[in-house]
């Protein structure tokens, strides 16, 4: 049987008590009314009537003492005197007469009275509610029936008693009802906290467990004890739940980290494969050159062509230099993220100025106009690496704008919430959007005729990645210029 059921047997105890109290009240009221109408009131009436008859009998005996067969009108005064005296008696409780009226009817065969005195009446007008009793009046030594007395007994005492008893009954019933109501209310009040506790617990799931609300001051010790036990249980459950949640979060984090690690490993593996392939391919090129010119060198030496020999040796030296440069830059690339300089606050403006100074030869040679936006922000990172980033971007820009009629480079900054962005824009030939990703690849040179190893932008991307930032390119190609941007996150304390 669940607590959801609201049927009688499943109802809350206080509902049952309320219903029981109502039922009890109805039964008691019904019993009270039945008892009054069918038992008490009739019994009182019979009792009062019996008393009236008994008094009538006594009166008849008194009258019998003054009556005698053959009595005449002269003796009637004694009878009247007895009747009047009987009318005088008063009930001490009501201060009203016991007997309201007496009617005496003589047997005309027994007495010698004139017809107008055969019936004698004394007292007040007959009352409708009086107890009327007819009693025989015997008289004389022979106990002959001389008259029949009709006695009107007052019902005042009965009515007073009846009203009094009824009032008392009503009062007691009302008092009983009030007491029952109070009892029901008190029990309901005592049990209400149990309902609140159960509702509180039912409304919550394992994730939102909380201590029970405070109880009223009137709550009983037993209910307080239950609450304390439940609070303790809830507290333990809460702790257990928190522990489970923490473990779950930790597992989640670990899984995420593992997944990221796997992704990173896979990415590095792929990168390593590409790197291996690219390195082997690009290193092979100067080796082939060297090998080829060594063969030519043998031939030229045998022929004694010194001029060709010098040319061959220069070619071999150039190829060796190229190879050296490639290896140096590869070594540098491998150091990024592995060998880390301490981070520090770096003023981007100073960094740009330093770079502009470093590439002043190319800038001046190509007559490139360089503009730097005011109020450059500061960034936090490896200064040496960041210098390489800016150097690569500005140097590339200066290199590729040389074909433009009025070459221009603009360096601007954005200080956003949580990150700083640096844009390096030029009005060079631009890069077709199809190659925007490719430019950051190792040894990927869009124009093989240009100088460089193709490692520069890979190196830049690697540095920005290591700093937790992003790098991207915006360009429509077709001589529309290009804009390289990189972002660097602000340190947490500054970002907040």
């Amino acid at each position: 049987m669940t607590t959801e059921r609201k049927l009688w047997f499943g109802a809350y105890l206080h509902t049952r008590i309320t219903l029981l109290t109502g039922l009890l009240v109805a039964i008691l009221t019904g019993f009270g009314i039945f008892y009054w109408t069918h038992v008490l009131e009739p019994q009182l009436r019979i009792d009062a009537q019996s008393n009236a008859r008994f008094q009538s009998q006594a009166l008849a005996n008194l009258l019998g003492d003054v009556l005698a067969p053959g009595m005449d009108a002269h003796q009637i005064d004694a009878v009247v005197k007895v009747m009047d005296r009987a009318l005088l008696f008063q009930h001490p409780a009501t201060q009203t007469a016991f007997i309201v009226r007496i009617e005496l009817e003589f047997d005309p065969d027994v007495v010698r009275l004139p017809p107008e005195q055969i019936s004698l009446a004394r007292g007040y007008a007959a009352c409708a509610t009086c107890f009327v009793t007819e009693v025989p009046v015997y008289g004389g030594p022979s106990r002959e029936l001389i008259a029949i007395a009709r006695v009107f007994g007052s019902d005042d005492f009965f009515r007073d008693l009846r009203d009094d008893v009824r009032t008392r009954l009503i009062e007691e019933l009302a008092l009983l009802l009030v007491l029952l109501g109070l009892l029901s209310w008190q029990i309901t009040r005592l049990l209400r906290p149990l309902k609140e506790i159960s509702e509180h617990v039912r409304e919550r799931d394992i994730a939102t467990l909380s201590p029970l609300p405070p109880l009223d001051r009137g709550a009983s010790a037993e209910i307080r004890s239950i609450k304390e036990a439940l609070d303790a249980l809830l507290y333990k459950s809460h702790q257990y739940t928190e522990s489970l949640r923490e473990s779950r979060d930790q597992l989640g984090r670990q899984a995420k980290e593992r997944a990221e690690l796997i992704d990173e490993l896979e990415s590095k593996n792929a990168e390593l494969e590409r790197f291996t392939y690219t390195v082997s391919h690009d290193l092979k090129s100067p080796l082939i050159t060297i090998s080829g010119f060594i063969g030519l060198l043998e031939t030229d030496l045998k022929q004694g062509d010194h001029e060709r020999v010098d040319q061959d040796l220069r070619q071999i030296a150039t190829a060796a230099d190229t190879m050296q440069t490639l290896l140096d830059e590869l070594l540098e690339l491998s150091r990024i993220g592995r060998i880390v300089n301490p981070s520090e606050w770096v003023d981007l403006g100073e960094l740009v100025d330093e770079v502009v100074a470093m590439v002043a030869g190319r800038i001046d040679g190509n007559r490139v106009e360089v503009s730097v936006a005011p109020d450059p922000p500061r960034v936090y990172g490896d200064r040496k690496r960041l210098l390489e980033v800016v150097l690569n971007l500005i140097d590339n820009a200066a290199k590729f704008v040389s074909t433009t009629e009025r070459p221009r480079i603009e360096i601007s900054f954005e200080d956003r919430k949580g990150e700083v962005i640096c844009h390096v824009s030029d009005n060079g030939p631009g890069i077709d959007p199809r190659y925007h990703e490719k430019v950051f690849g190792l040894f990927d040179r869009l124009d093989p005729t240009t100088e460089g190893t193709g490692i520069g932008l890979s190196l830049v991307k690697r540095i920005v990645d290591v700093h937790g930032g992003r790098i991207w390119l915006e360009s429509d190609g077709n001589g529309q210029g290009s804009r390289f941007s990189f972002s660097l996150p602000k340190p947490v304390e500054e970002a907040t």
Partner: protein, 184 residues
């Protein structure tokens, strides 16, 4: 103690009947009340004047079974009445066995002084019926058994009349008396 006071006393005691009086005491009280009402019954007999004996007196028979001594006491009390309807009263006690001796004595009325076996009561009732006189028995249940009259005891003590017995014996009572009596 006047007769009325005595009747009131009897009424009070009978009223308290249920308060623990024994059957014997109640019976005794009923007999006393009945003997008080016996003259009233006789006075109410419309033909009482015709029921005198050869001496012109009303012969009243107190019939008993074996309690002769107590009956004498009742007889003495009844004899004090002296006259009923101006007719002198003569009281005799008689046993059930000796009742036949009074067949020609013209009794005016009979009173059963003690509770009798059914057969004995039947003999008395038959005697009274044949004599055309009232047979009054104060014992509970005897009126229902055929006695002409008795007493009804409640919150009052009233004459109790068996109309069929009256008719069977040819006894006529005054309507005034019957008005107040309980009838069967």
């Amino acid at each position: 103690m006047s007769p009325n006071e005595r009747l009131l006393g009897i009424a009070i005691v009978l009223w308290l009947w249920s308060a623990g009086l024994g059957a014997r005491e109640v019976e005794s009280l009923r007999i006393n009340a009945g003997i008080d009402l016996f003259p009233s019954f006789l006075a109410a007999d419309l033909d009482i004047a015709d029921k005198t004996d050869k001496d012109g007196a009303l012969l009243l028979l107190l019939v008993h079974w074996d309690a002769e001594q107590e009956v004498e006491h009742l007889a003495a009390g009844l004899a004090e009445v002296g006259h009923i309807r101006d007719l002198p009263v003569r009281v005799r006690t008689v046993s059930v066995e000796a009742l036949a001796e009074y067949r020609d004595a013209r009794p005016a009325g009979m009173f059963v002084t003690e509770r009798l076996p059914a057969e004995a009561l039947a003999r008395i009732l038959a005697f009274g019926r044949d004599a055309g006189v009232l047979v009054i028995s104060p014992h509970k249940g005897d009126v229902e058994q055929g006695a002409s009259g008795g007493i009804w005891v409640g919150d009052r003590i009233l004459p109790f009349v068996n109309m069929r017995a009256l008719d069977a014996g040819g006894v006529r009572l005054k309507p005034f008396f019957l008005r107040i009596a309980k009838t069967l």
